[in-house]
């Protein structure tokens, strides 16, 4: 084989994960992004849409239009896609629990443009297991959730043949702390669970087609050589799985197809300009070797750890992709790693590890039954990651090494270098959905919901036709989900913290902290007890989990109930548990609304304990939280967890009159 390609390769699909405020505003943003040379759409929905609540739901408070676009009904979807030719667009929708619903809205919006569903191409993420493990926007229990996925696959292979109904995600696993081996093994185990469920729903002759429609959504961290090896390992495993487990022979169907968002967990708040280098290197991991090159790529922005990116920040990331694809010679060669001993060795290593870990998941009953096992393993891996960063074993430039810095001009200017969403958006969306309900044909909506409820209770039927009919009839996101919640029940995923391995042996600092916890506990009469709470629909659990585990390792009694709690639930738990301190973790950008709400609920119950807050809190908002009574605020730059815990214990001692350390 020649060392040059006869023709330069086509670049991958370039996307920007975007959406906020309203459908109309997001449509404007999409059109502007497309005009800059972006070649596909990637829709970020807000958390109420992802979890199945309308903008006027109590649980949507503070979250409407924040981290994505609210799509509450057919009208919103039509506005969102206005003027974007859906027969030519490749659209990726990050939507899971409510994926069937959003696909239905997409199909109906296309109808409106005169585009038949057969012509649509794109992806619904629709991977529920990783929602239980890492991402948190689940709505229904595992079994009916898997049924919805299987229904969508069965429907799509027949009626929307160019659509990827499921995108198996390993991206989020790495963001939750997974090692490369865990990322491969859990994603493959997950794919097995999905395919096994789908196999029961389609005729045998369609199984290869189903296999061929499964695509992946993968991560790439800054250790970019190993990360590239990971992708090669995944394509080998995938092909093997197709041949051996599902009897697939068509080489096209056997190809491992994946899209990428590169690692964001490693992007720092400190010296945020360094994130650009990280992003470039990570992009190389998924583009460098032709045999395992991404089909689609979206890159985070330099200000990832500060808050939401502005259009300019996203443009910068798009330009990174364009430089890579159009200026460099990357696309001119066959696979540059072919025959590399290093690469083959790394791949073999990863394959061995992944096969062993897949066997462990199988022993736990497969990916659905094994959620508890995998979740605990991820919390553990993340604990190890943070331990290495704290100890300096893992260098993070600008954070735990080379931390001295000139002031960054990027952070100057109004708004501190991030996008903020106008709180009036929520008020307007509440009014808008009331208008929508008042103006639609309510008899038609009722009838469609009744049919949906019937089908939901008939597991042998496919949910899609009734869902599409409901979309046409003007049903809302909240109504669709409520009908399904009524039929399926609800579910809370495991937290993984209880099973996380026994306490760290720790270092001197941790030992000293334990002594101090003993002293304060003795003085208080009870062991220092902390509630770690996650208010709102926010699914970012990493910080809360690691804080909870470290508090335990420091000797405290810890109550952590997992994600998605209302302010009232958190306050009631604090009261009932008799905790000495409440720690709230929030990364969803809804802290301005939700933290004061928790404070009010605590006050209403006369719970007089200090409250500390951690997460993505822009500097500009710290004062607001303090004014609401918050004692301390922590952000990602405070990477030393033991130090945070020391502050918390000192605060408890001071607040409850337990004196100061001797």
């Amino acid at each position: 084989m020649s060392h040059r390609l006869p023709d330069r390769d086509e670049p991958w699909i370039m996307r920007t994960y975007a959406g906020h405020s309203t459908a109309a505003k997001s449509n404007e943003l999409y059109r502007s992004n497309l005009s800059k040379g972006q070649t596909g759409l990637s829709i970020a929905f807000d958390l109420p849409t992802q979890t199945g609540y309308d903008p006027d739901d109590e649980l949507a408070h503070g979250e409407v239009g924040k981290v994505g676009v609210p799509v509450a009904h057919r009208g919103d979807m039509i506005a969102l896609l206005d003027g974007i030719p859906l027969d030519r667009m490749n659209t990726s929708m990050t939507i899971n629990a409510t994926a069937a619903w959003l696909l239905a809205l997409y199909v109906v919006a296309a109808e409106e443009q005169g585009v038949p569903q057969e012509a649509l191409s794109g992806t619904t993420q629709n991977d529920i297991i990783k929602e239980f493990l890492a991402r948190g926007t689940y709505a229904f229990p595992p079994e009916p959730s898997m049924r919805l996925i299987a229904d969508m696959i069965a429907y799509a292979v027949e009626h929307v043949p160019k659509w990827n109904p499921v995108n198996i995600c390993s991206y989020h696993l790495q963001e939750a702390g997974a090692t490369p081996v865990q990322e491969i093994a859990y994603a493959m185990s997950n794919a097995i669970a999905v395919l096994d469920a789908a196999r029961r729903r389609v005729p045998a002759e369609l199984v290869p087609a189903v296999f061929g429609r499964i695509s992946f959504f993968v991560n790439a961290g800054v250790r970019f050589i190993e990360e590239h090896a990971k992708l090669r390992a995944m394509s080998i495993l995938w092909e093997e799985l197709g041949r051996e487990r599902y009897g697939v022979e068509d080489p096209k169907a056997l190809r491992f197809r994946y899209g990428v968002q590169v690692n964001s967990l490693g992007l720092t708040e400190s010296q945020p300009e360094n994130n650009v280098q990280r992003i470039v290197l990570e992009a190389l991991a998924v583009t460098l070797g032709r045999d395992a090159r991404a089909r689609a790529l979206q890159l985070p922005a330099w200000n990832e750890a500060l808050g939401l990116p502005r259009p300019w920040d996203q443009q910068w990331s798009l330009r990174i992709q364009q430089v890579l694809a159009y200026e460099t010679d990357l696309l001119e060669y066959p696979d540059v790693f072919e025959g590399s001993k290093v690469m083959d060795g790394l791949v073999a290593e990863l394959l061995d590890g992944a096969r062993a870990e897949m066997a462990a998941v199988a022993e736990h009953g497969g990916a659905v039954a094994g959620v508890d096992y995998m979740k605990a393993a991820l919390v553990d891996s993340h604990r190890e990651r943070l331990r290495r960063i704290e100890s300096g074993e893992q260098v993070v430039v600008g954070l735990n090494r080379f931390a001295e810095s000139e002031p960054s001009p990027l952070l100057e200017g109004p708004g501190g270098g991030i996008l903020t969403v106008d709180p009036r958006v929520e008020v307007e969306q509440r009014a808008a959905i009331e208008r929508w309900r008042a103006e639609r044909d309510s008899a038609a909506a009722e009838a469609a919901l009744a049919e949906l409820a019937r089908v939901a209770r008939a597991p042998e039927e496919n949910i899609m036709p009734a869902t599409i009919a409901a979309a046409r009839a003007g049903v809302t996101t909240g109504e669709w989900s409520r009908a399904l919640r009524a039929a399926f029940g609800e579910f809370r995923a495991p937290t993984g913290v209880g099973e996380a391995a026994a306490a760290l042996a720790g270092n001197d600092e941790l030992a000293a902290l334990r002594d101090e916890v003993e002293r304060v506990s003795e003085a208080l009469g009870r062991r220092v007890k902390i509630l770690v709470g996650k208010p709102g629909l926010d699914g970012h659990s990493n910080g809360a989990e690691q804080i909870a585990v470290r508090a335990r390792d420091a000797g405290m009694d810890v109550v952590y109930e997992g994600i998605r709690l209302t302010p009232a639930q958190i306050a009631a738990s604090a009261l009932q548990e008799g905790v000495h301190v409440v720690g709230l973790s929030i990364l969803s950008g809804s802290h301005r609304e939700l933290i004061p709400a928790v404070m009010a609920e605590l006050a209403r119950r006369d719970v007089d304990v200090p409250v500390v807050v951690g997460g993505i809190i822009p500097d500009a908002d710290v004062e607001l939280l303090r004014a609401a009574g918050v004692a301390a605020v922590y952000t990602p730059k405070d990477f030393d967890l033991t130090r945070i815990m020391r502050d918390v214990v000192a605060l408890v001692a001071q607040w409850h009159g337990a004196g100061t350390p001797a």
Partner: protein
């Protein structure tokens, strides 16, 4: 938390059915601070059978079983079922976490859903002092005190084989919870290592055949050791939950036939002995002439006495206080 309301007043509030006083009562009962020990004694005195004129009305239920058997998930459904019957419920969840660092991740609460606006439900998590099946230091006192205010007081503990005796001593009704496919419990029952429970619950009935088989095997084992009155029920906590109403009835049925004063007396005496042991250790016990002698002393004491009074009696006898 730094509240200074005195113990008898907290007791009086609980007696009057003021459930809002319960969290504070627990803070006091759990505290080892000297000032709180006084308050705790006064609180318990105010709720003793002597003060009430009868045993506290609440139904004390022990839910125990191997780790991960589904106890908390089951409780989530039971709490809802009791609330539908308008009964108030307190859950004391005892976590067995190892005590290497002293700290514990209290995980049961996360599985028990409740409406934060409903003041008829209280859930409190505590860490056991290390032993599997053990109770947290104040669980007995807490359960007895809350029984004066709540209709149902449940204690969840982890127990395998012999280790559920602590909760058995405490509760009016003990439900042992096992999941399908766990042969241990069957063996423990057959070999007599495990006491016959009042109710036996097989969880995760949604798993199908394997759950049915477990239920059949356990029923047979119980019959073979004479536990004919023990009901064996299969439940599922996964939506749609099943078997929950039957379990509520089985628990009620047991409570209706149990000798309540005898059980409660045993519970208070066990609480006193445990508290004395925790406070004065082996040396204290030796001063009394050993555990058996201590038990004899307690057996001879006033049946209406609350636990702290019994502790003081032992202390006087051992010439400690």
């Amino acid at each position: 938390m730094t509240s200074t309301i005195d113990g008898s007043e907290i007791g009086a509030r609980l007696r009057a059915g003021d459930l809002g006083a319960a969290p504070l009562a627990l803070n006091v009962l759990e505290s080892s601070a000297p000032a709180d020990r006084e308050r705790s004694a006064a609180l318990q005195r105010a709720l003793s059978p002597a003060a009430l004129g009868h045993e506290a009305d609440g139904h004390l239920i022990g839910i125990t079983g191997p780790p991960g058997a589904g106890k908390s998930s089951l409780l989530s459904e039971l709490v809802a079922a009791w609330r539908r019957r308008e009964r108030t419920v307190a859950v004391l969840a005892v976590d067995p976490s190892s005590k290497r660092t002293g700290g514990a991740l209290l995980g049961d609460r996360a599985r028990i859903s409740f409406d934060p606006r409903d003041e008829g439900v209280l859930i409190r998590s505590t860490a056991a002092a290390g032993r599997l099946g053990g109770l947290a230091p104040a669980t007995r006192e807490a359960a007895l005190a809350l029984a004066a205010a709540f209709d149902v007081v449940v204690v969840e503990t982890v127990g395998v084989g012999q280790s559920e005796t602590d909760v058995a001593e405490l509760a009016d009704t003990v439900a042992v919870v096992v999941q399908p496919g766990s042969g241990d419990t069957l063996q423990f029952l057959k070999s007599g290592i495990m006491e016959v429970p009042d109710v036996l619950v097989v969880t995760k009935a949604d798993l199908g055949d394997i759950a049915l088989r477990a239920r059949r095997d356990l029923s047979a084992a119980l019959r073979s050791i004479g536990g004919r009155r023990t009901r064996v029920l299969a439940v599922s906590a996964l939506p749609p939950a099943s078997g929950i109403d039957e379990l509520v009835e089985a628990l009620d049925e047991h409570r209706a036939r149990v000798d309540l004063p005898a059980r409660r007396l045993r519970s208070r005496r066990a609480a006193a002995l445990a508290e004395f042991g925790a406070e004065h250790g082996e040396r204290g016990l030796r001063a009394l002439g050993g555990a058996r002698a201590a038990q004899r002393l307690l057996d001879a004491a006033d049946p209406g006495a609350d636990a702290p009074t019994l502790v003081r009696l032992l202390e006087r006898q051992a010439a400690i206080a």
